[in-house]
């Protein structure tokens, strides 16, 4: 129990300290240090869960089981590597005058606060606190999206705030309806919002209320996942915010929002007994994959393009969770992991590329291999990974999802294949000239440290070939949990 409290207290303390410390020279290192300590504690927590099974903590307000423990470690890990990436990135931004002292303070402290809200959302057992944490995550990052104060970034941040705020209000209504249904069975002492208790009595929850509650929860949290048609904030927020923020939004926030939906789906499935929840998720997921793929092909800004790629992959994961069953759930969990790793790696590479080229428009970036081989290769390999090339992990998970779809929902398979194909063609066609083209820029004298990129890609590579046994066991356990 103390581990969980420690896990949450560290980023919160980091946020408080960086509020005053954030503009000093050593601030990025302090930021990374806090993230590293968070990662260590997360690993410790993971070890405890491997040994001892699920943990309930602090008057049952926290619950860590096989579903969220790997997400916790993933969050802490990506948070750490992103903080490493953000060190030289922010230093360069500061030198170019795009970031000032107060803005750096805001950035560093909100980074830690955002990590705190993500971890709170993952570890809490209380569905109401889950809502609070998700809303707090939006609040923590909205000022970061607008940190450059350009017209476009202000617009992106406003859309983000309003659209996510409205969405999350729907989720609040869903939570209220859930509490309403739960209260009739569990009474009013305050246990009615605890997921562990709800899981035990989910068969007794009133179906009419639960179906309406799930719809609102799906729409609400789905806005934060970026499901079409609620996705409008996503491309703008990714494109206009600083690159480390794009990386954590894609890599972390979308995952945690999807995790929230999945927790609610478990309850809804138990209460309804039919495939209603799964069907809705499949519908939204499919729609997201298709729409995102087609919008992708029309983008000119590199970060917007990869943002649409995030929407597409989240749609795919939602579809997989919607299908249900052990294989699809396993594939979706694997996909969550590798997508998070690869997409953040891509954003790191893109961040460096954009900084070197000074523009985000893809037509103006050329010949990255000549200018800086590491950035070029990082981007190329990352793109190949996210497009589903073997042997990266994305291929394995997409393969499993497609085969399950072929077996159970054959009508969806051609649509998925078409969308994935369109996305493949579009992204590859855009990235290839960026990496391999000709350019007049000279080669960079010093090479940016792209260690985080290659670490992530390395993990993705490994997961494609061999999943460590404990990880596989978790995925299977979690998959069974999700029915």
């Amino acid at each position: 129990m103390d581990v969980i409290v420690l896990l949450l207290a560290i980023p919160l303390a980091g946020g408080a300290i960086l509020w005053t410390w954030g503009e000093r020279e050593s601030a990025p290192e302090v930021n990374s240090a806090f993230s590293l300590v968070t990662l260590v504690v997360a690993c410790w927590l993971t070890a405890m869960v491997i040994e001892g099974g699920p943990i309930l903590g602090f008057y049952e307000q926290f619950f860590v089981d096989s579903l969220n423990v790997f997400l916790i470690t993933l969050t802490a890990f990506v948070g750490f590597t992103t903080s490493l990436f953000s060190r030289p990135y922010m230093r360069t931004e500061r030198d170019r005058g795009r970031m000032t002292g107060p803005r750096l303070r805001l950035y560093h402290s909100m980074y830690q606060v955002f990590t705190f809200t993500m971890l709170l959302a993952l570890t809490t057992n209380n569905m109401g606190i889950l809502w609070v944490a998700m809303e707090a995550a939006t609040l923590a990052t909205v000022l970061l999206v607008s940190v450059y104060r350009t017209a476009a970034s202000l617009e992106a941040a406003w859309k983000y705030f309003i659209l996510c705020g409205v969405g999350i209000a729907q989720a609040l209504f869903g939570t209220i309806l859930l509490y309403f249904a739960a209260e009739r069975v569990l009474g009013r002492e305050g246990n009615a919002l605890l997921w562990t208790h709800l899981d035990l009595v989910k068969g007794e929850l009133q179906p009419a209320i639960m179906s309406l509650a799930f719809v609102f929860l799906l729409v609400g949290y789905g806005t934060k996942v970026g499901l079409v048609p609620l996705h409008n904030w996503l491309p703008d927020a990714h494109a206009e915010g600083p690159t480390p923020i794009s990386a954590v939004l894609s890599g972390l926030l979308l995952n945690v929002a999807l995790y929230s939906i999945v927790r609610c789906k478990v309850l809804a499935d138990g209460a309804l007994g039919s495939h209603f929840a799964g069907n809705m998720m499949m519908g939204f997921g499919l729609l997201s994959v298709v729409v995102a793929a087609f919008f992708l092909s029309r983008q000119r800004d590199i970060k917007r393009m990869f943002a649409y790629s995030s929407i597409e992959h989240m749609g795919l994961m939602t579809f997989a969770f919607g299908m249900g069953g052990p294989i699809a759930n396993f594939a979706a969990l694997l996909h969550m992991t590798v997508h998070s790793l690869v997409k953040s790696a891509i954003f790191f590479a893109v961040g460096h590329a954009v900084q070197k080229a000074g523009t985000q428009v893809m037509e103006d970036i050329r010949g990255l291999l000549k200018v800086s081989p590491r950035v070029g290769w990082g981007l190329m390999i990352g793109t190949l990974a996210i497009l589903g090339m073997p042997p990266f992990g994305v291929f394995a998970s997409e393969f499993l999802i497609l085969t399950t779809a072929m077996r159970e929902h054959a009508w969806a398979t051609p649509i998925l294949l078409l969308a994935l194909g369109v996305a493949f063609a579009a992204i590859f066609a855009r990235v290839q000239p960026m990496v391999f083209g000709d350019t007049g820029h000279p080669r960079l004298t010093h090479q940016p440290a792209l260690t985080p990129v290659f670490i992530h890609l390395g993990f993705a590579f490994m997961l494609g070939l061999w999943i460590p046994p404990y990880l596989a066991a978790w995925y299977e356990q979690a998959a069974r949990l999700l029915r």
């Binding site: 109401g128 606190i129 707090a136 617009e155 406003w158 209000a169 609040l172 209504f173 309806l177 209260e183």
Partner: protein, 219 residues
């Protein structure tokens, strides 16, 4: 006595709905803030009535938090904001007011229809008001969509949260305390952030017209 309690809560619910409609038709921002404060008062009144009739003491605390936040602090922040931002009038809406009110009525019918089968399950004394709460949420949502200035959109957002809070107190007897505190904290922090944000917008565009913020499109 329970009969009287239900009637009083129903009366507060009707007041809430009336205020939500009035906000739709309102042109002046200062009047919008006053209506929002009135809505908060109606909310507090209904919570206190439910607390008194059913004897649930945690609802008194909840009502106190609501009063402090929605009747005192938030309107104060909003007043200061509009004084410093110098926005007093908001003449245009995207649809004209009679059309908006017709759409509002359609939304109310929709909300009532949605809520009737659900509210039959409620054992709360104020069960009929779930439909009204949902209607308030939808009307605030309509207000947000059809306004072209930033501050009325924000007030619509806050009014939506009022509707949700009313839904929580009417369908169930309020959420657990810790959740309510969390929600209140979120709302407060959100307002503070919004205040900062609106200044940034004004600095960049010299106006708070939302239509300046529509240039990012997919092309």
């Amino acid at each position: 006595m329970g009969g009287y309690g239900t009637q009083i809560v129903n009366l507060f619910a009707a007041t809430l709905l009336l205020i939500a409609f009035a906000m739709l038709a309102q042109r002046r921002i200062v009047a919008l803030i006053h209506l929002f404060a009135l809505q908060g008062l109606a909310l507090v009144g209904s919570t206190v009535t439910v607390a008194w009739v059913t004897g649930q003491h945690h609802l008194y605390y909840s009502a106190a938090i609501t009063f402090a936040l929605k009747v005192v602090i938030l309107p104060y922040i909003l007043h200061r904001l509009i004084r410093r931002l110098n926005v007093k009038w908001d003449i245009e809406t995207l649809l004209n007011i009679p059309t908006m009110m017709l759409v509002g009525i359609v939304l109310v019918v929709f909300a009532f229809n949605l809520a009737i089968p659900i509210s039959e399950f409620s054992t709360s004394m104020a069960r009929g008001t779930l439909g009204i709460a949902l209607a308030c949420v939808l009307l605030s949502f309509l207000m947000m969509i059809t306004r072209s200035k930033a501050v009325p959109q924000v007030i619509g957002f806050l009014a939506m949260e009022n509707g949700l809070f009313f839904a929580a107190t009417s369908a169930t007897y309020g959420m657990p305390m810790v959740v309510e505190l969390g929600i209140a904290l979120d709302v407060l922090v959100g307002m503070v952030i919004l205040g900062v944000f609106l200044f940034q917008i004004r600095e960049q565009f010299d106006s708070l017209d939302i239509r300046h913020l529509e240039s990012l499109r997919d092309d």
